[in-house]
Every structure is written in C-alpha cells, then in structure tokens.
C-alpha cells in the first residue's frame, strides 16, 4: 500500500502543529519505511531520534542504586526519631490560650474611661479629703458660688454672642 500521500499529509499537519497524538504515532510508524522518496528521507533522522527517545527507559538498576545509597546514608547518621508533636508543640498552645484568657479578663474588667472613673483614680493619688468642707452647708455655699460664676459667665457670653448677631443683622439691613 502506498502510504506516501498519507505521510505527506501528516507531515504537513505535524509542521503546522495540528497533529493529534494518534497521528504523531502513525507518522513515526510510516517514517520507519525504508523506501521513502529522497525528499522525505531527510525527516527520517528527526523521527528516528524521537522514536529512540520515546523508547528509552530508565534502567531499573539506577533506582536500586539510589535506594541503596539513601539507606547507607541513614545508617551512617544513626537512628531517625519521628517528630513527637505532642511534646514539642503543646506549650505554645497553652501560652496562647492563657494570653487570650488574660486579655479577655483584662478587657472585661477594664473600667470605662469616663470622667467619673478618672476622678476616682485621681482621688487615689491625691488625698482630697483634706480639702473637703466640713459640713454640707459649707459645701452648698461653695457649690452655689461656683455654679453662680458658671451661670453668670455663660449668660454674659451668650448675651455678647446675641448682641453680635444683632449687629450682624443690622449690617445686613444697612447693606
């Protein structure tokens, strides 16, 4: 059977990178033919090399040699102890859990940063009791005087602001 047209067709497909694996196998088989035209014989070398590479197999003796070398190395280094996970890794876990627990407890017990709490903290440092009035009546007089100053000054500030607003309104009218 003249396989030359098929061979040429497959070669064209091969160099156009359109062949399937099956067609490449067929091409290699057809190239083995000893009576190919001269223009096709030049490709025999290429496909001959490919065939040789495909057929080349690892010598099983090499695998045995490598294994023998590994075993010899292990024998020289001594006994291999597998990792004892339970011994090596348990304490960082315990420390991490303890840290999380401590942080959680601290967060829960942390007083909110309100002015009342800050006042309580300041009281611990300073003995304020030395500066307290002796009677509620005296405390009332001082509180009254202090609040009066606050009320009078705030009122004064509000009046000034109102007057300025009025002046602003006057300015607008004049414009």
């Amino acid at each position: 059977m003249n396989s030359e047209p098929r061979l040429r067709e497959l070669l064209d497909k091969y160099f156009a990178a359109e062949t399937t694996l099956q067609e490449e196998w067929e091409l290699r088989e057809l190239m083995k033919d000893g009576h190919l035209p001269a223009d096709l014989q030049v490709f025999q070398g290429l496909f001959g090399t490919l065939n040789a590479e495909v057929e080349e197999k690892l010598n099983p003796a090499i695998g045995n040699l490598v294994m023998a070398q590994i075993e010899a190395d292990h024998a020289q280094r001594g006994k291999i102890i597998p990792l004892q996970r339970g011994y090596i890794f348990w304490w960082p876990r315990v420390a991490a859990v303890a840290a999380i627990l401590c942080l959680g407890l601290w967060w829960m017990s942390k007083p909110a940063a309100t002015p009342e709490n800050e006042l309580a903290q300041a009281e611990k440092v300073i003995d304020w009791s030395k500066y307290e009035p002796k009677t509620p009546e005296e405390a009332f007089k001082i509180t009254h005087k202090a609040l009066k100053k606050v009320a009078v000054e705030l009122d004064k500030g509000t009046r000034i602001a109102e007057n300025m607003e009025d002046l602003g309104e006057m300015g607008k009218v004049l414009q």
Binding site: E137, K149, V150, V152
Partner: protein, 175 residues
C-alpha cells in the same frame, strides 16, 4: 516543664504591670494639673466629694440659709446631677498660671464651649467633655487681674438648668 511555668509566670507578671501602667495613664491631663498644684502653698484648694453632693441632693432649700428659695432650688437642682467639684485658685501670677493651664489641657479630650473676654482683660474659658451629647465634665478657667481659678465640675451637666439659674440670679439682682 519548669521553663514553661517560668515563661508563663513572666508573661503574667508583665501583663499585670502593663495593666497597672495603663490604669495610671488614663488619668486625664487636668487630673495631672490638679495633682501638680494641690499641695502648692500658693493655691487654695476645695474639693466637694460625690458623697457631699449626695447629701446636698437630699437637702431642702428651706433648711439652707438662703434669702431666695428659687435660686437655692436652681442650685440644688444642678448639684444633684454633680458627682465632684474641684477648685484651684491663686493670686500669684494669674496670667502665667492661666496660660499654663490652657497649654496643658488636651484639646482632643476637651472641647471649647465658650470664651468670654472683658474689656478689662478678664478671661473666662469654658471647656467640656461630652459623651453621647451629654456633658460629663465642665472646666472653667478664669483669669482676672488678681486671681486665676480653675474649676472642674464632674457629672451630667444640663446647660438648660444653668441658664435657669442665671435667670434666677438676674431676677434677684433686678429686685
């Protein structure tokens, strides 16, 4: 095992010391300012404790020696919401102490409510610390020719109640 216990112990000790430091550092700048001058002989110091304010809250304005009941009522109404009052005042270099207090107050912590300046050169500044639109602390810094005063009112302060007190004072002055 001993190493692990030691590590955990060290960790917990460092954690507790960090917690203690955090606790101390939460005292506000104004607390530090009070702490600096509370023992200073140039300053007069007054402190009204939460307990005294509780006692004031239970007092009747008639028990107190007040000519004007409505003003006393307005003061008591404000006082029952207070939890602490600290006053520092000095006649020694008022201008310098006023400037120093203003420089030491953390503007991130306190917000300026109002500044009132007289033609005579008297300055009054109100600063507030708010949480959820409720005034939790009111600071009053006042500087005259002959006196510097710093007042810190801690508690829920209602500006409407302060305004009511101002009206009562004005009414009394008109009479």
């Amino acid at each position: 095992m001993k190493k692990i216990t030691l590590l955990l112990g060290l960790f917990l000790a460092s954690l507790s010391s960090t917690m203690a430091q955090t606790g101390n550092s939460s005292a506000s700048a104004i607390d530090k300012y009070f702490a600096n001058y509370v023992e200073d002989k140039r300053f007069s110091v007054v402190y009204i404790s939460p307990k005294l304010f509780q006692m004031l809250g239970r007092m009747d304005s008639k028990i107190l020696d007040m000519d004007d009941d409505s003003e006393a009522k307005a003061v008591l109404d404000l006082a029952k919401d207070l939890q602490g009052l600290r006053i520092l005042s000095t006649d020694d270099t008022p201008d310098a102490f006023y400037k120093e207090a203003k420089a030491k107050i953390n503007t991130k912590e306190y917000e300026v409510l109002m500044t009132v300046r007289d033609k005579d050169g008297d300055n009054v500044e109100f600063l507030i610390k708010e949480t959820n639109n409720v005034i939790q602390e009111l600071l009053l810094l006042s500087k005259g020719d002959d006196e510097f005063t710093l007042m810190s009112f801690v508690g829920n302060l209602d500006l409407n109640k302060i305004s009511r007190l101002a009206k009562e004072i004005e009414k009394k002055n008109d009479d």
